[in-house]
Structure formats: C-alpha cells, structure tokens
Symmetry: D2
C-alpha cells in the first residue's frame, strides 16, 4: 500500500531470523486412529538432518535442527554434530521424552512412585549430557504428566515432585545452558495436567532462576486464549524462552504454523518484536505433525509462513500506532496494524531471498530439486522414523 522507507531495516531483520525445525517433523506422525506412512521418510537421525538441510537450503533461515531423545539417540553425538555441519546445519534444542516408557503410565517426574521419578530425572540429566556433546544451548521439557480421573492422584503432591525434579535438572545445567519449560492445556492427560498453563510454568521457572524459561507452544491453550497477550507478558517478565510454532482449529492439532489463523501469528510476531524478542535469546522452533501432507514442503511452507508474519509485523508503523493509541483513537490504531497485515509481503521476501542468494520461490525450487523423488527411491527398507522410534 505504502512505500516504506524502513525496507532496508526490515530486510536486514528478515535475513537474520532463524527458525529451528524439529527432527521428528520429518518422520511419520498421526492421530490415535492411524499413522499414515509416507514414502521417503527418514529412517535415521542422519536422514532427518539431510532433509532439514534441504529446508535450510531453500529458505535460508532454518539453520538448526532440534533433536528428540531417545528418538534421535546415537552413539556419538559429536559425530552427529559434524554430520550436520557438513550439510550446512547445526544441532539445536534437545527435547526430552518421559512419556513413552511403560513406567510412565501414571506420570514421570510427578509419578507417585519415587523409583519412576528417579528414572525420569535420570533421563533428563542424560539429555544435558547430550547437550554438552552437541553444544546445544536449550533443553526443552515437556511433561505428559497428569491424571485422567478426579481423585486419581494428589494435585499438590505432584507439584512438589515436579519442583524437586526441575531443581535437580536445573542444578546440572552449564553456564550457557537453559531449561525451557513447556506447558500444555491437556492431552494425553484428560483431567489434570501438571503444567497446564503459562502461569504454572512461570511460577516454577521463577523459583528456579534465570536459566529456566517458559516456552509457548501455540497449540497448547484453552479455546479463545489470547496467546499474544501471554507473549507480551512473558517478555515483560524476561521469561519467554521460546516458541513451539504450529497451528490449530480445535485442540493441539499440530498443523502448519499460520495455516489456521495467520492473523493470530502476525499478532504474536508483532508482540515479539514489540517486546524485543526478535533479536534476542528467544528460540523460534516449529513443532508440527504433517499427518497427511508431504513433510519437507510442509516445513518449508511453515518457515515461510513465519517469515511472512514477521515481515508484516516489522512493517507496522510504530510511530503512527503509538500516536493513535495515546490519542485513544480505536479505529485509527487498529487500522495501522491492519494496514501492515493486509500488505502482500511476498514480493519483499522474494527480494530478501534473492539478496541472500537463494531462489525467491522456495517451494518451487524444492520441487525442481528432485529431492522428493530421490528419497522416495533411495529410502527403501528399514524402519521409518516416527513418534515411536
């Protein structure tokens, strides 16, 4: 709509943006009803890195890959880091998994049995060992802990156990390492969840210290929750550690970020920028399930959706907005925001890509690359990666 003199700054910001892709999104996923396998899906952590490297090659802003332990367990993490580096990417956040052993039926770090809790903590500490080996900064903690029936366990005692486990892990963190605590409204527990909302995660992180931060998964809220408000609050408190991006219409649908409500994503990115979170330690990660769509192009599209929302948020005319806000002009203030949102930023992003030497159309470039055909033909036999392995 408008010629903006701040285009160079916008472009510069977009060029330095980084979105981490999750290793597990390259593998199979599904619902409790069915996991539909797809051709060409990786069988090993290395093959996941191969795919992630394609995403970075075509987008230019996905330089790191999150690992999930034990799904990405290898004997030599140093070698895995080297493997990644050779393909132009780096290992990123380490994600723990304390929800798939049979022992965890009634919880992990909140389990009523101390032996199960010890096992869970041991796994979390092992993850920090892996971080030492990979050079990862962040340990992401998501707990499926909770209960299905009223009375099943004691809510408060479970908080005590949670606090104890978190403290043990926090103490183990190195000087440059962080713990990102994720909250989730519900699922797989259906009555209580031990970290159900940002307030619970915040309260625990506050007591632990500066290296404990809250991570916001955009799909993990009650219906109607204003996520950008939470983002603004956590940034104000210095407690926003990062994002797990995805989108949802109903529950934790784990669809491509920006697919369900692109305006919401824009508002979130606006608050990130407003709160100084863009060029900071805030980690921008995807956490999605591509149940029925082709995985690599879905991830490329997701990265692009984050870029488009960021570009629009960067285009908000801050001076005009502040003026309208201070003067109490509701419609004018809203119009400033909508003007940026309604702008088609795809030409701008195409320029950004050309300026960093990649194809302006990442999806088309990926399709032309022959990678999909190649992995379909080559990745035959073996066991495809998925949530179970």
């Amino acid at each position: 709509m408008t010629s903006r003199s701040d285009a160079p700054a916008v472009k510069a910001a977009l060029k330095t943006q980084a979105v981490e892709t999750p290793s597990w999104a390259y593998g199979n996923s599904g619902t409790r009803f069915k996991v539909f396998a797809q051709p060409g899906v990786p069988r090993t952590p290395q093959e996941k890195l191969d795919d992630a490297a394609r995403v970075h090659e075509h987008t230019g802003v996905a330089p790191t890959v999150a690992l999930h332990i034990p799904w990405d367990k290898v004997d030599d993490y140093g070698a895995l880091a080297t493997y990644a580096k050779e393909r132009g990417v780096r290992l990123g956040t380490i994600n723990s998994n304390v929800f798939q052993d049979d022992d965890y039926k009634l919880g992990s770090v909140c389990h009523p049995d101390a032996a199960v809790r010890r096992k869970a903590v041991a796994h979390l500490l092992e993850c920090v060992d892996i971080m030492d080996a990979t050079g990862s900064r962040d340990l992401k903690l998501w707990f499926s802990d909770g209960t299905n029936y009223p009375g099943q366990d004691d809510i408060r005692s479970r908080q005590d156990r949670l606090a104890e486990a978190l403290a043990a892990v926090y103490e183990r963190l190195g000087d440059d390492q962080r713990m990102l605590l994720e909250y989730k409204f519900f699922e797989p527990a259906f009555y209580t969840t031990d970290v159900p909302d940002w307030g619970t995660a915040y309260a625990h992180c506050l007591k632990l210290g500066d290296k404990a931060q809250v991570v916001v998964d955009t799909g993990h809220h009650a219906p109607g929750t204003n996520i950008e408000f939470i983002v603004a609050l956590l940034l104000r408190e210095g407690k926003l550690g990062g994002f797990d991006f995805n989108s949802r219409f109903y529950a934790d649908d784990d669809l491509m970020v920006g697919a369900a409500d692109p305006f919401q994503l824009f508002r979130i990115m606006y608050e990130v920028i407003r709160g100084g979170g863009l060029a900071s330690d805030v980690a921008f990660m995807l956490d999605q399930c591509h149940n029925i769509e082709a995985k690599i192009p879905a991830i490329i599209r997701s990265v692009m959706n984050v870029q488009e929302a960021t570009a629009k948020a960067l285009l908000v005319d801050g001076t005009a907005l502040a003026e309208a806000q201070v003067s109490g002009d509701v419609l004018a203030a809203n119009a400033v925001l909508m003007d940026a949102y309604n702008t088609d930023v795809r030409p701008l992003l195409a320029e950004v890509r050309e300026e960093i030497g990649i194809d302006p159309d990442p999806i088309a470039a990926y399709h032309r690359s022959g990678w999909a055909q190649k992995i379909t033909e080559e990745r035959v036999g073996g066991t495809q990666a998925g949530w179970g392995a």
Copy 2:
C-alpha cells in the same frame, strides 16, 4: 430425602434397562503419544466376549456386545453368536471401520477418488452382511472423513459423495435393520469434518428414511454444547437412534461415562425419559477408552454410572416439576430436579440388584471373582487386541 411411592415402577424400569458394551473397550487403547498395554487383555473376539460376559454377570444390564469390523473379524459369525449366547450375552451393533487402511488418508466415502469411495462402500455393505449373520439390528457409521487444511478438498462435493454412499448402504438394509449415523466435532480431521454435528447427521438421515437415525456420542461436541437439548430435539423428531456414552473434560477424551460431569449425564437421562426414549428403540452403548485404568472394572463402573443417572432421572417428581414450570417458578422447578439428583440412589440400586439375583456391589463382586488374576495368568503370548487389530 423423600419416601417415594413410585419406587416399584422405578425399580422395574431399572431392571429392564440395557447398556451395550463395546468389544474394543476390552482391548488396549491410548493416545497418539502412547498405548500402554495392560495385563490380561483379550487377544481374540472370543476373549472379548468372555470379558463382556463378566460385566453382564455382575451388572445384570449389559446383555449385548458391539463388534467392530475388521477388529472383530472372524470366519464364522454364526459361531461367534453362539459363543456369545453360551456365555449369556448377545452380539449387538456392528461398527464399521473406514479409517485405518492406507487408502483412507484423505477420506473414505468422501474421498476425492471414486475408487476409494467404492472400497469404503463395499466395506459398509460387508458390515450389513455380517449383521445378517449375527442378527444385529444396528449398523453404526462413524466417518473420520474430513480435511486438515482450508482448500484441501471441496466441502460441498464431499457432502454429495457422502449422500451417495449413505444411500447405497441404506438401500441394502433389511427390514429390521437400522443405520445409526454418528457425528463428531473434530478429530482425526482438524479443519473440516464431514459429519461434524447433529444437524448434518439429521439432514442426511431425514432424506434417507426411517431406518436412518442419529447417534449421539457424548464426547463429540463443541465446548459448552447442551447435549440434553440435542437429545430432546432428536427424540421430538423421532430421529434419536442411540448413544455412545463416555465422558470428557476437553475434547473426545473417552473417559468413563459420568466421570467428568455426572450432573450432565443425569440431565441427558432425564430428557431420554421425558422424550419416551428409555423403553424404546434407542440404543444405549458405551464407547470408551480405558487408557490407564483396568478395563473390566472400568466398564462395570460405567454401566453403574448410567444406572445411577437413570435412577435419579426416574425419581424426578414429574407432577411437581410441571407445576413449577407452568407457574414460572424458576427456583422451585430447578429444586425439583436437584432434589432427585441429590438423592443417593445407591441403596435403591443395591436392592434392584438383589432382586434380580446378583451381588449388590458389582465392583466388589468382580474383584472377589478372581477373573482379573485368571486372565492375567492365562492370556500370555499372542497379540493383545487394540485399535489396530
């Protein structure tokens, strides 16, 4: 609270109540994160019937068992019916499954590809063949069909395809057979679901004819939906075919019926009775997942929960209620309902059980019976039943 002269009629109604248990609830189930296997779980349809017979023995009101095809596929359904009969139960509703073949990734009867639709319809027709062999009255149709992303497929064309498939199956029904069409708000599809609400199911059933009826799964609604209102409406329209009972706090949690909101269950049963649905063709079925709790006692508890809600609903003083309603006395009318709800009906149900010759405490009787130990010891090896098999 009050001595009620209508106790004999209430008892009589409770003695003739029948709740169908689903074969799959005896098998393993879980979430997309993990299926926790339990000891003693059936390996075959026959073992499921063995367990269901225990539930009926201890409750006296669970005489039929719903089958799920192909999970309960056998060579000789007549023999299976005989097997059931010998154990004191009967085969009930046939549940179709058009969501687990790889072909169904983008839908079954609504799939864009006619070949997939033909395959799905063939399966539904096969289910009617099975009904002929088992003597089942009802075919329960639940479709996981839908889309995950806006634009993925054409909403209206999918309705056309759905209508065509339903018509083909309807035509095949015998004179005493019915088609029960289930709706579900979302999951596993996350953007559109092809039968998402009672209105859609109703509209299709209306066009098909009298043998097509709507089935209400109590977990398949948007947050805040007034389910008893839907029950009252469908009964008024002569279109309530039956229930899939379970309970939920969030989405389709599939917890034990009455566990999350026993007052809601009471209100539903009140509307059932009010609308003449108790002694009618309305099918009362459970459809639950016992992910972490022992399955057989959970099903016994669920049947008891339905009984307790029914007993309370039967105790509502209809004359006093009507009087208060007509006079516009909001508090008095509400108090009549609450008086029944607040009554402890467990002594009444204990009497009912003793009068039909069973133990007044079904859970205790089951635990004393040694069945849990027996199946844990005997059912070793083989493949435990679950959603996948």
Copy 3:
C-alpha cells in the same frame, strides 16, 4: 502476486455486491456493565437513515438499512421509506424484538404462559404488516428464549410452542416475503436456548416451507465451530437466507466483521461464492455493536472488510484448486487458496470505487466530509438511540 485475466469479472461482482447496515448499529450499545454514549448519535430513525446514507455514499455497496421494531417504530412507514429513498438508500429487513418487555422474562413465543406467547406472535405479525408498508422482503427472527436453570422449563414443550408460533407467522407472509430464522449458541439465556444452532433452525425452516430460511450470525456459535462448513451445507440445502456479519474472539462480541479473524471471513465468502450465494437471494447484513469506537467509520470499515474478503475469495483460481483437490495434493490445494488470501486486494478495490465514481479511500473521504463534526454539533438534546429505545 499473479496477473489475473479474470479481473473484469471480479470487479463486476464487487460492484454489484450489497451489504445491508443495521439501524441499531448507528445508536449506542454496550455490555451489561456499561453503555458508553457517543457524541452525535442519532435520536430518531430518520437520523439513523441519514448516517446509513453516508455509509452508502462512501462505500457504494450499502444501499439498504435494516430496521428494528420497536426501536425504529414510526407512525408512517411509507413516509420513512420515502425519507430513505430521498437520501439514496432503501429500507431493508425488518427485525422483530420480543425480548425487552417485562412479560418476556421467561421467554416470548416459547413462554409457558399462552397469553405471553400470543402477545409475542402479535408483535411478529405486526412486523409483517410493517414489511407490507416498507416493501421489505425479509423478516428476521431472533428469539432470546431459553432457560437459565436445569428444570426451569420443559425443553420439548418449548419446541412445540416455537413451532406453533413460527407456523402462524409463516402463514401470514406474502408471496414475496421471507422469514429468516436466526440461531444463537447462548445469551441472554444461560442453560438452554430454544434455537441454539443451525440444526434447530434448519429443522424448523424445513417444515415451514421455502419461504423460511436460516440466517447465520457469525458470532453465534460454540468455540471452534467451522462456520464456513455450515454455510456450504445450508447453501447445498437451499436454506441459507442470509448473514448477520460481525466478529468475535470469545462469545457474541459483536465486533466489526473481519476484525477478529479475517481469514475465517475469507473462507466464509469463498463458500458463499462456491455455493452460488453471491448473486442470489442470500442477504448480507451487518449486526454489530460499536461500543467504544466511532460508529459510522466502524461501519464503513466493516463494509470494506466484507468487500476485501469477497475480492480475495473471487480471486481464488478455481481451476487450479479443483485440479489440486482431485489429485489429492493437500499442500497445492491449500496454496491456491492462500495465494488468493495473501493478495493485497486494496488496489483492486480502489479501482472498483473509482470506476463507480466514489473516492477510492472511503474512510478518508468520510473524515474529510465533515459529517462527524456536523452531527456532533447538531444532534444535541433529545434521547440518543440505543438498544432500549
């Protein structure tokens, strides 16, 4: 993004679009906590028409104004129609009001007392008389009827009363008149609402006949409801009478249409076009409350938001979409839709406006016009219009 050869057809469609504005949106409104009065608000139906004429003058696509009886009661409706005509607009839909008399505390057409029901029906019939006088085509029926407490009244009996009242009004309709039945999830009734969902409205309209149609208020659904699905279904059934446009984050917030979720509005307009509803008898109406923002520019903005969503929906490449859908290419199909949505259609709409001889920037033109100052100065004294009068 793309140069489109269908621009002339798109422009033609946009030029013939018509959005009806509601007389009450020009008056004061608020929440149960407070109604904040605004300067310059109309005191009479005539002044509301004056304001509505401004909206039409600046947008070119708001030629009719909906009336609300008795808020817009006048002695001579013919004269009011003439007044409107002289200002370049026409009287549109007649909205009935059976929720503000003290008699309606427990309902109107569903009230347990027959005398209250008769009074309510008499008002509805009076509205048809007014339609005869104004030449309005549509009678819009919204009932606040419902109950606040379980047991308060009999759900089924209330449906019987509703059906009887609707039949009486339907019979009175002239050959060219229609009855639009609105549903609403909740509020002001908090336990049951007598027409809570599209299914209930549909079932009643179906029995009444062709002149009874369902109206979709975009704010009247449970959280997570897929509104465009309902739109597609009702169009397929020939039962979509019209829209009450507004937007919401939580309940029935009545914010400016497109303000909360512009992508949803686009999807709705896409289904309207897909189902042949754009150039048809479907009525496109606003129904909003401008509690804190200036009313006239808010309504202009709302009309523009509908236009922008429509323009984007018209730009969807139907051929490419159908091809991707049939081939089962989830990402390609989604991308076709998103390509249209991500297009900045404001330049196109500016051209459309210039071609029909109005200012390309309606908001700026309104602000330049001096109307706001004029009404603030002139409309002093008297009683400002609001929901109560």
Copy 4:
C-alpha cells in the same frame, strides 16, 4: 453409604464455615439485552443489609456482606456498620468500581491517559478509606480494563500502568488489610483483558507482597479450564485470597453456585480442604446475578449449595484416598472421591442446622417467614438498586 466416625469433626467444620453474600446480588441485574426488575428489590444499602440478614438468619453461615462502591455509597460507614450489626451481620469486603464512569471507556488504571489513571487510583484509595471506617479486611479489585481491537493499545504499557496503580494502592493498605486481585477471561473487553488469568494476577501479587492475594471467580475462565487445579496451586503458593462463587455453562453467566456443575464445586472444595484453605484467611464470597429468579431464596440456595459441596468434600476418606493414590489404583482412588460425592449430605446438614438452632430447611423457613410479601408491599417507590446505582 457408610457410617462415618468423623461426623462430629465434619459438623464442627460446617458450623464454622462462613460465606459472604454480595450486596449487589440483592439488587436487579440482567444482560445487555434487558434488566428485568423484580418486586421488593432494595432501594438502599440498608435494605440490602436487611435482606442479607434474612439469608444469615436462615442459613447460619452468611455473617458478612460485601459492599460495592459507589453502588453502596453512604455518608457514614460507621453508622452502616452499626446498622448491620444490629441486624446480626457485619460489613465485609469492599469492592471497587472503576468501570462505569464515562472516563473509563478505554480503561481505568491501564488507560492511556494519566489523568484517567489518577482518577481510578483515587477511587481505589477512597475504598481503603472506607475499609478503615467499616473495619473491612479485604479490598477486592476487579478491572474491566482491556481492549476490543488488535492494536487499540499497547499490551505491555498497560501492564506497566497496572503495576504502578497496584503498587500505589498496596502501599496504602493497613497492616490487617489485604488486596484481592481478581482475574477474568474476557468481558466487557473483547480482545485483550489486562488481568485475564490467574497467572497475570499471581505475577502482580507476587511482586506486591504478602498482602496481595489472588481471588478466583469460578466463572472467569476459558472453556475447559480446570479450576480446582488453580485452587490447589494458589494454596500451595500461599496466594489464594478468596473466591467469588457462581456458576456458568458458557461465559460468565453468574448463575447460582453449584447450579451448572455441582461436581466441579465439590472438587474445588476438596482442594480447598486439601490445601488447608477452609479454616484460613481464604474468603468465600458469592458473586452472582439473579436475573430471572427471586433473589433472596436464590442466595439462600447458593449458600446451601456451597455447604453441600463442602460437606461432601469433608466426607472424603483421606486415608483410603492416599492409599489408593500411592498404589496407583486409578479406579479405587476415583471411587473414594465419588463415594463422598454421591452421598446425600442433606440429612447431615439438616442436623447441623438444628444443632445451631435454625430451621433444618432454610428455603421453606424463608418462604414461611413472610419476608418476600413484606418487602414487596413495603418497598414501593424510590429507585431499585441495580448495577447502575
């Protein structure tokens, strides 16, 4: 079901329970659509106290009355306190009101204009003055502050302003005075609310100090929120200041507590007891709107509903529950809770009432008392109390 040896302790706890009733619940209330006036409604703060005294006389557990300023503004608060005392009740919590002056259209303590913020803070300080005069312990703060449209104001700046205002008021509190900060999901603001959830209230209270506590209004949460979890958490943190009890099916319906989901109320009271909140400083207040039902008997019923939930929660067999929880027996643990919930505690409460010398049936006693007739006849003329005055 079971004879319980702990009945004396249960009775003792029930006899010392105290539920505060709100002065405004005796006045008229309604929705944005209509306020239905009721006969006999108080015209003055004194008449509200007269009614509240009736509630305490019949229930024995409602000794205090919350005031709302300016709705209950009087010249001499000492005299009002004496008036209350003479009628057997005391003045309780002071509720501030910074949402009904025209100045507050865009907020109060978060308003962009410092002058409006100063006015709001002055009102809050005036409320503390009133507390000094009335001897009230608690200042309850609810802010309607928020925005309706994205961009309307700056989320973070509003938090800064909120923190500043709270600090000013906190500093003014006397040694025995507390500030209770209430959160609310939405309404009357529809995009952002400045204190939307417990986490926000908690974060502010934590910084303020020990005299700042969170108040949980049971109707102020997103759909599906587990309220008892929040209660358990706040008690664990020492930050639960009190409750505003009411119930809801949809949004903030403000129905009688226990009317919509009595099982939830029981679970909340169980967590209160579990966390030591029953005999503590936690304030148990009603905050309800009796839009269509008679107000005094509705409040009596509400107090009784709290008592019944408390009685059931007190009956939970803690030893059996802990045993089942520790052993991981999901069904047994749930059964312990349900056993207490399913108990009919009305006989027990009738005994409690007789033992403290009041009628065992408060509702019947109220109806026999002739109070309703008396106030209907005597309270003629004047202006009935309502939210506006």
